[in-house]
Subunit: 418 residues, 4 copies
């Protein structure tokens, strides 16, 4: 397998090509093959962008047909039939059944484009410039999103100060004892707190990059209440946790909250094609026409696959399968936690968005390497890179899941023996 | 044609759907059809993202084949065969023939992702936080790119102050008399100027959104000299002007300069599929592995179409055709300028990236509307929206070009008569 | 008494002239007279700038002599005999007896000049830009000091964002339950906290404007330990609480801490003449010559009076008197708290820097007005202006103190009866 | 002369004590004596804070009397008889005769306190955050004033980015050819300029620290016109150039302009005692009571001496003398320029605020040292420290002036011979 082109011509910034030193070619469902013909179970799925597996036929078939028909591929925000079909699919199969009513904005197709649009709109709506964000948050790599991200490495990136951000402790930070929601409520109500009223509070219901920290339903409900009380826009960044990852379509459904703004991307297109949207409570949608834009906001290929994805949620066989798989995964992980107490500190996350907090970064690093050698792709997260991130496709077959877990079990064993 | 879904569910931010009130479905080359079967010549081409026309068969055919083969679609920055092929195509058919040697970074797939990465790297490389940017610049919609953009509307967007930016006058601003390069050289050399040494100077060789202002070769050469003299990174944002738009692949080839960093996106994929890259002078490529990332940086569909696009530049029949088309377009526009002196103030731009500076925004607005009614899509630009932006596909046929210009001529005549 | 000149010509910003609607002329010790000949006990003492009373003869006598002798009055930072005498007095009578060893910087003569210098030096020393500051802090009215101040009104002043400040909860904020020092230690040690390492932590040991909140010795010791642990400069703003206000010369002596930088002003000159200094741990004193300056940093009149003030601290009769007065004041206040539980919530502060937290701003407002009518000047503080600030001269006679407290008692009674 | 106390205990930041290595004790008029009994002519006068000479008897006599009478020394902004007298003197002898009508704000007593207040008020009044300031400007050492200062050394001080400042070229910068006022007018009127409308334009009519650059009357008039046209507050920082320095009381009288806000300090008290005021066009005076404050804003000693200074301007013998002295000084300097063309490039400044731009910093450095050895105190300015700053008291006697100039002539001769 020839990797000379990468070494010679790609920037030093490349990362996964180093941790998985092979060349991949083909992929179906949870399985991915390299040029040498070796197969791997994929528990990384494009950092959560392939929740429906690779080349899901339900999703790809209409796209191939679309592509072959000389249909519009790029349309800015002109009206196209494909875009209309997507809107109808999203409203009909996702929003309506959940009793949600949002306006849909199409920003540039990446998650960070969506978060930048959401923050800009919240600032415009409130006339305030600061935003409240959390310890260990991650919201993207452009400057507005970096500013609200918590980790030291992302903060340093960009080379400029992170302004207009008020950092507050996430659920159970620094410890379970601390009532972080109560603290936020206090400082917002006290004119001497030194903390101005923000335009918005932005959060992930599960902090993926931050270490798979899952907020409780009670805490999320309380944050929504505080936002309502103080007139602050409540933004849920559902880019990684949404689009089905936790088992529900939105990650916040379990808490019965209704954020003012929701951002989606990653698995939204179902196919890995770049797509993102911003869901906006209608009265907040005070954009002027054309005030926010983006060349690739009309990616019609992605509209077609995203529509097909939405349709899947109307199929109870599909949703029932996802539910069963989530339970199965949790059972597997509970067993691993019990089996390897010297390596694993605790299970993290929720549903199919799971993590294993390990005793050290070294544990995680060894497990990663042994797993790869044995045919499993996983990645780590957390400020100290000591969490194994377990993100199988939500459509993974039982056989694939069991096989992947078996490799993980083996890697943990090897690491324990080392 | 049913547009209810847009009205009911899409954010108020939608714009082109309002100015072109129809629903498009099919497109080939420079022609686009709506649901009613009406055809339009496309002089807007996705704001420069479809330089090679809609559904260019040279570009699409390999993509359809790729898609049907269960090949990898999304790969983060893992090694894939499709990515390797693209790198080899870009190096072999674009960089090498031009004597250029750059490292290639794959950020998120939009132009603003690329500019954010370029600015972050320049700041890291120099250890400085400020960046010098120009009057009437446009670099994107995320916060770091908005900060360096010049127009009041984009500056206000985001709702936060634009920090770490030093605004300086572009070529011939505010008038031809003013030696803007000399001014920049002065302030960078004077410890009392109040202007700190920036990490980078970022510019477009033709300011598209800013009104189709084209910098001269002499001015660009002088800016590069000033950057070298003061140890400032020279970034060319070639997102709209590059990828063939001016007739050459890079917009700066005519000036014989070699920027330290170049950003590309829009037409880079050839297909309208989101893709962007950052070209980095090798010694500046001091990124740590994984220091900059992005979920959609491995859009393999776009790699396939981009590779096919690169290959076209090895075909002299193609490049000769582009050259002839550029001359033809300029001749057409010179004729219109001479014919409508009451409406048109001057021709702007260069090669196939052209504009007509009109006497008022009202002229442009009427021309736009009449043109649409008669089957031509064009858009406006400039801080006062008084420039008609003429961006046909660089692969447009003579028949299509003549037809489009005829509609534009008619619209100018109608506006003159009104 | 003619106040037309104020109404006609002074800015609307004037405040005390409104709350004390008379014209003052003469003052000795704790007593001040107006043009009509009425006398008032002064529990406000220039917001703590007249700790040694008005026109203290020990302090003023040498100044009158100095002034009559054609001696240097303003000297920038040239060497003068008067400045040399002050330095020797301050080192000999204040620093040495307390075992302290600091370099002395003379910035501009106001407290905020000193705090700006301290923050600038900490930033230079550490190469970091952020500073950690507390809820309800007040550090001055220039932009650098406003940025670290907590109250909403001061934050809004200046009209620009407050950057480079990390706001953290003060001792016992928001409640006694919350371990604010532990929280600070946590976030400084966690790379994912979203909080960068600051150049300095700046604090008042008693937050005067913030509501007379007194930090405990244990908390101050812990903050000093955290600063040492994380390599953060520890700055005590002793502008209002220092120069004898709490009974000791420095307000932090009771906690046995030794801050890296201390700022003094207000009562430092003893006479009300503007003077401030920055005390710097010698190894932190990395200023270049002339790097920080200020026209009025050589106020020789103030050097003379400040030297006389320093000498007083060598007199045990003086220090014993201050100690007795502090006890007497505290006893008085305990009695008032017990007597007016419906009006007073709790006693605040420490030593001669005392406050009465009342049940509402209205209580404080009425007490203020009735007290003035009966011959007592007091002021309020706190984010909600619900704290009576009790700052008699530390040299107040027993008769004056008893008289002032009697008026306060009467005003509380009147307010209770109203 | 013992300077051990300075070396041992004063911060390394001390500067003038190094360049004038002696200890000063007594001073009258333009003459200052050291402990050894040597006398010096003072052409530095406290960086312009002693325009009326040292210990001017007209100014000091009432102050000594005031001090001896147990009068109020510090009063915050309570009404005092001394403050009322000053207001009446300033209005009656300074404002009224010049047809000016301003509200007077008393901020903290230093120049930078006044500039911070002026900028804050302009931002409040306009609701805008940015301020336009000039190349080579100097406005003070606190963060808000540093931000608008131009020199690299002051910009770096404070350790934080200078935000909310738009830097524009001063009169004749970078060369006489460049129409800087026209440039400012252009960018303020162009929505694509990338430069937002500022709250204020702040400037010095003569840039003292910036190298004694004097703006022309025509340019100042044009800047005022531009401010009016664009609704921008026009602030003149007259801290060093005002209070009589140029020969008129205000430095801008010669241009017949009427700024919206004027700041005064330095020589305002006449005695070297710290005092500053902000003069505000009445309709801009929208401060809330107490919104801006400062402990030392009620320095009654300074009120008394400042009142005496104001009275001097009603005396035509005084004003005639100042006028004659200014002419005499200019004649002297013209002669030196003609005599030492190899050392001096040009005369700078205006009236009694003069400078000699030399061929190099080394020339200035040698002249400074030889002058000191021969009994003359002068200082340098400019971004490259290549300007000799000539600021005699405006009350200097002919004998003192001739003597000082003779020493300067000698020093230039020595430097030329070296």
């Amino acid at each position: 397998m020839n990797t000379d082109a990468f070494t010679a011509h790609e920037s030093n910034v490349r990362r996964y090509g180093r941790s998985f030193p092979t060349v991949f070619t083909r992929a179906v469902g949870a399985t991915i093959w390299d040029e040498a013909g070796s197969s791997y179970i994929d528990f990384l799925v494009g950092s959560g962008a392939l929740n429906y597996g690779h080349n899901n036929p339900n999703i790809l078939a209409p796209a191939i047909e679309y592509l072959a028909g000389e249909n519009i591929l790029l349309s800015l925000d002109m009206h196209t039939a494909a875009k209309r079909d997507f809107i109808e699919a999203f409203v009909g199969w996702i929003l309506k059944p959940r009793g949600l009513s949002y306006k849909i904005q199409f920003p540039g197709p990446t998650g960070t484009n969506a978060n930048e649009a959401a923050l800009a709109l919240a600032r415009k709506y409130t006339g305030r410039s600061s935003v409240m964000a959390f310890t260990n948050a991650f919201h993207g790599m452009s400057l507005g999103s970096l500013a609200v991200s918590g980790s030291a490495s992302t903060r340093e990136l960009g080379g400029v100060a992170r302004h207009d951000v008020i950092r507050v402790p996430y659920h159970a930070y620094p410890s379970q004892d601390f009532d972080s929601a109560g603290y936020i409520d206090s400082v917002l109500g006290d004119p001497g707190s030194g903390i101005e009223k923000p335009a918005a509070i932005i959060l992930e219901t599960i902090q993926a990059e931050g270490g798979m920290n899952a907020a409780s339903a009670a805490w999320l409900t309380e944050i929504q209440r505080i936002c309502r009380k103080h007139g602050v826009v409540f933004i849920v960044d559902d880019i990684q946790a949404g689009s089905g990852r936790t088992g529900d379509f939105f990650s916040f459904e379990f808490a019965k909250i209704e954020p003012d703004i929701v951002t989606l991307s990653k698995s939204l297109s179902g196919s890995g094609s770049p797509l993102s949207i911003v869901l906006i409570r209608p009265d907040i949608d005070i954009w002027n026409p054309g005030e926010h834009s983006g060349t690739f906001r009309g990616n019609n290929f992605a509209f077609v696959t995203a529509g097909a994805m939405c349709k899947m949620w109307s199929d109870t066989q599909f949703t029932g399968g996802v539910e069963r798989t989530a339970i199965k995964l949790q059972t597997h992980l509970d067993r691993l936690v019990a089996k390897f107490p010297e390596s694993i500190e605790q299970k993290r996350g929720r549903g199919l968005m799971a993590g294993l907090k390990c005793r050290s970064p070294a544990v995680v690093s060894r497990v990663h390497d042994v797993a790869f050698e044995n045919g499993l792709l996983i990645e780590s997260s957390g400020p100290n890179r000591d969490v194994v991130k377990v993100l199988p496709p939500i459509t993974i077959t039982d056989v694939e899941l069991d096989h992947g877990i078996a490799i993980l079990d083996h890697a943990l064993q090897e690491q324990h023996n080392a």
